[in-house]
Amino acid sequence: MMTTDGPSACPHEDRESLAEDYLARRLSEAQAEEFEAHYFACDACFEQVELAASLYGALRDTAQPQPATRFSPARPRPRVWAWYAAAAAIACVTLSGVWLLRTPGNAAGESPVMRGDRDGFEVTATRSGSDLVLEWPAVPGAEHYDVRISSVEGETLWEQRTAGMRSSVALDELPPGGDARELYARVEALDGLLQPLARSKVVAVLAAEAKRP
């Protein structure tokens, strides 16, 4: 049977903070790698990483716009008013006796957790004549979408803010040298105050080129 390192063999007294900092990418690359090599051998630290990971995932994934949501939408550093609004919503939910309500869809499906995670939504890129057309599904709560097309070097070549779920750009409007096969697009969903709600996956415009007749 394989032996495990108990807490007594572990030098990390504050492993909770270490696990959080690791998952939240607040450690340097070297520190992260050192911790990774350590938690492969240390059960106590890996247990903490798992618990922290589960908490990050669970609290983030319940960030739904439905009335029964108990936690505020996932976004970086929510403002104080947003926190109080979320707290008020939580109190309402508690008082109305539906504190334990769950999203029914969470119990089944291919990847049910991902349904609650608005990040990473898909964008499809297709070619329509000389235009590149980007389309994406509506993100709950989003009132605007920022569309960005970048070169492979990360340089932003074209940007547009739109209220719809579709955007198109004439390829010849892009800066000279913008070979369509080297372009990448990403859409960011924003709420009414232009705060980011979710980001799409990056889509390679190469996919659109492949559909070209």
Binding site: M1, L23, A24, F40, A41, R60, S72, A107, G154, Y184
Partner: protein, 184 residues
């Protein structure tokens, strides 16, 4: 007599390391399914190495698994090539977000379990956990917001996590058909 590394069977290897490698690789690659693929491949390679006597001892096994997983992650990243580099560049200019569920490998069942346990905690415990894991604040920032010392925040968080962990274990034991502590 000290157990030999070649005595490790596939089930033990998987039980001990699959989630470690999957979580590690998902965080590195930013993608849950790639993380699980790397975990499968890592365990396959490690098991072969064990059978061939290429792992010296049980003590060196975690390091061997880590090095194998690390190597496979680097291979994956290289394979993604230009697209991966473009993605990295785009991400660098975006606002910082907490880890996505793609990176933390949590199942719907585990989410339910966690919420069940969170609901059983005191509000003070929930508050500190929300600050850390929902609002993604570090210890110093939480301390400043709540008017506590960083040490007090660490202690409160430690106790809240301990209570949460105890509840999860209790609930796991109740829900497991055999009364064991298996999680997922």
């Amino acid at each position: 007599m000290e157990p030999d590394a070649s005595d490790v069977n596939a089930a033990e290897l998987s039980e001990r390391f699959f989630r470690r490698v999957a979580l590690f690789a998902a965080r590195r690659l930013g993608d849950r399914s790639s993380g699980e693929d790397v975990a499968q491949e890592t365990l396959h390679r490690v098991f072969s190495a064990l059978r061939e006597g290429r792992v010296e001892s049980l003590d060196s096994l975690p390091g061997f698994v880590f090095q194998t997983a690390n190597h496979l992650c680097m291979q994956q990243a290289r394979k993604r090539g230009r697209e991966a580099r473009a993605l990295e560049r785009l991400q660098r200019t975006d606002p910082v977000y907490p880890p996505s569920s793609d990176e933390v490998l949590i199942s719907a069942e585990r989410v339910e379990q966690l919420h069940g346990a969170l609901d059983q905690l005191r509000e003070a415990d929930r508050e500190i956990l929300r600050e850390a894991y929902e609002n993604w604040r570090g210890t110093e920032e939480i301390a400043s917001r709540l008017g506590l010392s960083p040490e007090a925040v660490r202690v409160r968080k430690h106790r809240a996590l301990k209570r949460l962990g105890d509840l999860l274990r209790q609930n796991d034991a109740c829900n497991s058909p055999r009364g064991s502590g298996t999680r997922e």
